[in-house]
Amino acid sequence: MQKLVKDIKTAIEKCGLQDGMCIGFHHHLRGGDYVLNMVMEQIAELGIKDLTINASSIHESHTPLIEHMKNGTVTGLVTAYIGPTVGKAVSQGVLKNPVVFQTHGYRPAGMAKGEYRPDISFIAAPSSDPMGNCTGKIGKSACGSLGYAFSDAEYAGKVVVITDNLVDYPLTQYSISETSVDYVVKVDEIGDPKGIVSGTTRMPRNPVSLKIAQQAAKAIDASGLLKDGFSFQTGAGGASLATAAYLKDIMLEKEIKGSYALGGITGYLVEMLEAGCFQAIQDVQCFDLKAVQSIRDNPCHAEISAAHYASPDAKSSAASSLDVVVLGATEIDVDFNVNVHTDSNGYIMGGSGGHSDVAQEAKMTIIVAPLLRTRYAVVKKHVKCISTPGDSVDILVTEYGICVNPKREDLKQRLTEAGLLVVDIHDLQKKAEKITGIPEEPEEKESRVVAEVMYRDGSIIDRIYQV
């Protein structure tokens, strides 16, 4: 059986791509990804139109997509995140149909139910054998985990593996098995290693981020959840990352042996694993070289699929056992609703990713955010877009104190007893407004919806309008 075909165009033709179909991509190569662009270029040359892309995320390397949207090659997009450049174009109305913003957890659940199931998925693979046994752990474009691609392999009608490191059959340490793969294509490069993973994820130096992180770590300590068997997830941005560093000190000092760290994985979480703070890492995506090296070499560092990470329909998931998650916010309102989709001008510049998945599942969800970003208030009366509903958020940690969701009086008491400064979110909102004034709201064309925000139960919880 011959799965290896000479180029992407041949694979597209053999898969029988037609107008109106849905195609899938994963985002493990992040800002360094070449594969989505290479595939779309071939599709555009073939003159195929009216496609829906179901990609786990869209990044800054994917700006050629704007042109494909303009000329009708792409008319629909299902994703969990869109970077600012494509996001702005979408907000300006470049895409025919509204974007469907899913969560990372809902993507595999939706596919299992037949929603936006790709007719063809193109899986960028840092190493593959000619039959499609592939992995992200080795090769010049190594990205570590291929967690988001598992659902593509499982549910797509046809599966094409695209690699720049073709190895002899059989690749034994595979992530995705040949049993799901129809075709394999060897290309020169699937991405730019510099954009795929950062060399080292650096600890932030911003004093406000550090202050917030320090308070977040103290709040975790005071929550009653920090004990042997503790499980934890945190983001890779500023204060979230620094929270892990402060938490590590507390865990080592108190000799707490945690169970697992989850999520997008950075070198900081790897250091915590190696220091004995956790017995395992469950990794759906690697953010830096240290994480890639660890997932390759350390048997306690496990690759998991997006469904295993946070599918709401799974019988259990890693998220469903999670104690504490630390997440960021573009905006948060007095009802603790969080926006991570749009910027202060109303343009799309992000997305939930797994934000609302883990927020709902974790025993304690912490949002870390400064009161202000440059001249904008982060704590507002109403967020422009609800990405994560406030009832799944427990506390907000800012440099001016910690706000506790009124439904968590127990937590408020614990934090207060620990001597942490607990403040009312309404007071913080007023404080922010006093400094920034009330900004003029951007003009939105309410007649034209450019994106719908789908919650992890499949319902639409908000709409984003054309700017």
Binding site: P207, E399, G401, G419
Partner: protein, 293 residues
């Protein structure tokens, strides 16, 4: 209580807006060295608006003004005094005459704006050989005087020696300032540790300053605040001992005893005074030292 005095450049809105939450007891809005000559007016305006509109909690507000040998200092005083900062920090202070001239100008502006005469205090920066030699005179030159503050960077330039982390070259200045300030009955603050990434060095330098008798230390980076606060806060053992001292004294009074001893040592007036200071500092810290948490 002033364990830490954190410098914030007067021309950086981003730094200024966060001044109240970085954990220091005092914040110093700098109009002097951190601000280039062509930005002096912008910085002055920004600090003025910040003092008018922002809430810095219970942080003490200090404004470092330009030296009296520049063209900027009078305007600094005229613009800043009406906003009633807690303290003015004059720079390159060389002698008592310098302070008297400044005091006069401050009084003039206070009067003009109906501010209580002498309510705004002074913490002069002594950073020249002359300033160090005249420390005691300076400390007694005005009733506004709250503390002396040592500036080692300019001082070592004036002394024509290298500034080192070990700080042997400033040992004389440090001890002289502590002695002068204590003789005048005011507080005394140590020069900042300038390597922002060397936390071990910071700890060592701060412990040394505390051992010499300094009340606190200036910091130029918010990441240094916690370390300095911790070292200049009374320890659990110090607090416990202070409580025992006060209890023993009270017990002695009740029993009509003139001499009281504790742990085999006589308790005299300075020990009682020190115990009171420790307990008052501890109370202030546990009472939510303003910018902590």
């Amino acid at each position: 209580m002033r364990r830490t005095m954190l410098f914030l450049p007067g021309n950086s809105p981003k730094m200024i807006v966060n001044g109240g939450v970085l954990g220091s007891d005092s914040i110093i809005f700098d109009l002097e060295d951190a601000v280039a000559p062509d930005e002096k007016d912008a910085a002055r305006l920004l600090v003025k608006e910040a003092l008018k509109n922002l809430d810095f909690g219970k942080c003490e507000i200090i404004v470092r003004i330009n030296s009296l040998d520049t063209e900027f200092w009078e305007e600094d005083i005229e613009e800043i005094i009406p906003l009633k900062p807690d303290v003015i920090m004059p720079t390159k202070v060389s002698g008592a005459e310098y302070i008297r001239r400044l005091d006069e100008k401050m009084s003039e502006v206070e009067k003009k704006h109906s501010i209580e005469q002498g309510s705004i205090k002074l913490i002069p920066l002594l950073e020249t050989a002359c300033g160090i030699e005249n420390a005691y005179e300076i400390a007694r030159a005005s009733s506004r005087m709250a503390a002396l503050y040592l500036g080692a960077e300019d001082l070592t330039a004036d002394l024509r020696c290298a500034r080192t982390k070990e700080g042997k070259e400033i040992e004389y200045a440090r001890t002289r300032l502590v002695c002068a300030a204590r003789a005048a009955g005011i507080e005394v603050y140590d020069t900042p540790f300038t390597d922002v990434d060397d936390m071990e060095g910071l700890e060592k330098d701060t412990r040394h300053a505390k051992a010499l008798g300094f009340t606190g230390k200036a910091v130029i980076n918010p990441r240094h605040v916690d370390c300095v606060n911790e070292i200049f806060s009374p320890t659990e053992a110090e607090i416990e001992y202070a409580r025992e001292v006060i209890e023993a004294i009270e017990q002695g009074k009740k029993e009509g005893r003139g001499a009281v001893s504790l742990r085999g040592k006589m308790i005299d007036a300075p020990i009682v005074e020190r115990a009171k200071n420790v307990l008052s500092a501890a109370e202030e810290i546990s009472g939510g030292a303003p910018c902590r948490n």
